[in-house]
Amino acid sequence: MADALPMRDTAHRKDAPWLTLKMREAMEAWLFISPTLAGFLIFFVGPLIAVVWYSLTEWNLLTQQATFVGLDNYNDALFRNPDFWHVIRNSVVFASGLVPLNMALALALALALSRPFRGVVIFRTVFFAPVVTSAVAWAIVWKFLLQGEAGFINQILALIGIDGPNWLREPNWAMVAVIVTRVIKMVGLNMILYIAALQAIPRDYEAAARLEGASGWQIFSWIIWPLLGPTTLVIMVITTIGSFKVFDHIYQMTGGGPENGTLVLAFYIYQQGFQFFDVGYASALAMIMFVVVMVLTLVQLALRRRDT
């Protein structure tokens, strides 16, 4: 090793005598990274700066001119347009329904499937299958199953004497339907993260506790659950952020309706920006979404630091 370095140095000197080894390595590193970095600047940093500027302007559709209007768009969102708070309410309802349901089901499935038994691979494959399926396809099939009277779900409910609601035509039921179908679609992802975490827990812990006479529930609540803490935190934040970003699922299943009952933030941005062409207002909404997600991420980082 020690005498290899000078050798390499002279070797490089031959083809580029004016460069030191260190400079050459740095130059190569920048070359390696430059496509990614350039794309990042063009398609991410630039647009991020632009959206701040857009959010401070009013866009005239006819002349395609932007006029500076200060914080007007934010004022519109926060104080004037009642739709905004309705949308935020929907997003919060969606998240607070989806996140606990998703995490509880993921953990339950992971506990059941973290040990080998006959058929365990089949079950894991089944519960993960919707994750690889396109959200649009998934939403199409569920929309079909949840049709009013002739829909399959309601026909089954009718068999046991229940008069099912017209799921996707009543705002509250539509929200329930969207949450539940989204959970079924995505729960497999959190399940495998939990399975990985469970399999990393040494078996001895549980065996020792069992020797001491601990019950299954005690082992879970005193040993397993605390050890899953970091994983639970990561899953919670990923799932919460994901729930604020949900778009395709809702677009296909309810179109934000009925009566804006499932109009969530990501959909609202799309609607204002690309259907109503209110670019300034939509950009302000995008900035608000940015702040929400940023705060959630920073909370996660702070919690993780406190934990370790």
Partner: protein
């Protein structure tokens, strides 16, 4: 003797109960796929008739009509070739950048890493409006360029970069040093030593990138407007009659055509695919 026998019986009974319970929970995960395929074979009249998983009449014609309703073969091909290009590009770019971040020393490396990682926090909905105007300015609206460029260079590509970086960091350095002493350039070390050792990470990036592109919806919806340029998810949502009502039998037949091949590949390679997601979830 009898005690152990009953104990065994209890255990077997217990296992059967658990398996049955899991089967019940599995219904909403499996049934939609079965119902999708079965309904794809039904006629428009039968589709809302009495529920039966086996169609009374197997209407194969649906799978022909799907291609007459819109240029479905072309749309299928669009999805496929875009996903292949995005996957190829992402593999090359993310492993190059990830290698530099993991192995090469240069001023500002930490800063660049931090800079890039911030992208992971920002949903694409935030930057999609300026990106739209940029693409329109460049004359790329209603082409496939945005569907290739945005996923490759957006948060998803950055995630792939960090996945590769983590993997390179865990590789033993000695082999690479030996390669350097043998006179390999940096690029040579990356290509013939680092990459062959990173097959699991490359596979994970490829799988997740391909699926991400294949299932992409927001970008096609915003950027593409002509039928023959649609990708699959967009095409699927487009099986409607002139009044905008869904043509369920065609829509479900088309959805089956789009979903079943992916499911078959998934079932064959389920272990690899599930591991890929676990890897990206833990490290990304």
């Amino acid at each position: 003797m009898t005690a152990s026998l009953t104990q065994r019986r209890v255990r077997i009974l217990n296992q059967i109960c658990w398996t049955l319970a899991l089967c019940v929970v599995a219904i909403p995960f499996v049934f939609p796929f079965l119902w999708m395929v079965s309904s794809g074979f039904k006629s428009a009249a039968e589709i809302f008739g009495s529920p039966s998983l086996v169609p009374r009449e197997w209407q194969w014609r649906n799978f022909v009509d799907v291609f007459n309703h819109q240029p479905f073969a072309r749309q299928y091909f669009n999805s496929l070739y875009i996903a292949v290009i995005v996957t190829g590009l992402t593999l090359v770019l993310s492993s190059l950048a990830g290698y530099a971040l993991a192995r090469m020393r240069f001023a500002g490396a930490a800063l660049v890493g931090l800079f890039l990682v911030s992208a992971l926090m920002v949903p694409e909905e935030v930057t999609i409006i300026p990106n739209f105007f940029m693409m329109r300015w460049a004359g790329l609206v209603d082409t496939h360029w945005p569907l290739i460029l945005l996923p490759t260079f957006g948060p998803h590509g950055i995630m792939a970069t960090f996945l590769m970086r983590q993997f390179f960091l865990a590789l033993p350095k000695e082999l690479e040093d030996a390669g350097k002493m043998d006179g390999l350039s940096r690029l040579g070390v990356w290509w013939s030593i680092a990459l062959p050792m990173s097959r699991p990470a490359l596979a994970a990036v490829a799988i997740i990138t391909f699926l991400n592109s294949w299932n992409l919806f927001l970008e096609p919806l915003i950027f593409v407007s002509s039928l023959e340029k649609f990708t699959l998810p967009l095409a699927l949502s487009n099986f409607t009659d002139p009044y905008g009502m869904p043509l369920w039998h065609l829509q479900l037949a088309a959805t089956s055509l789009a979903v079943v091949p992916i499911l078959v590949v998934y079932i064959i390679a389920q272990r690899q695919i599930i591991e890929s997601f676990a890897l990206s979830g833990v490290k990304g």
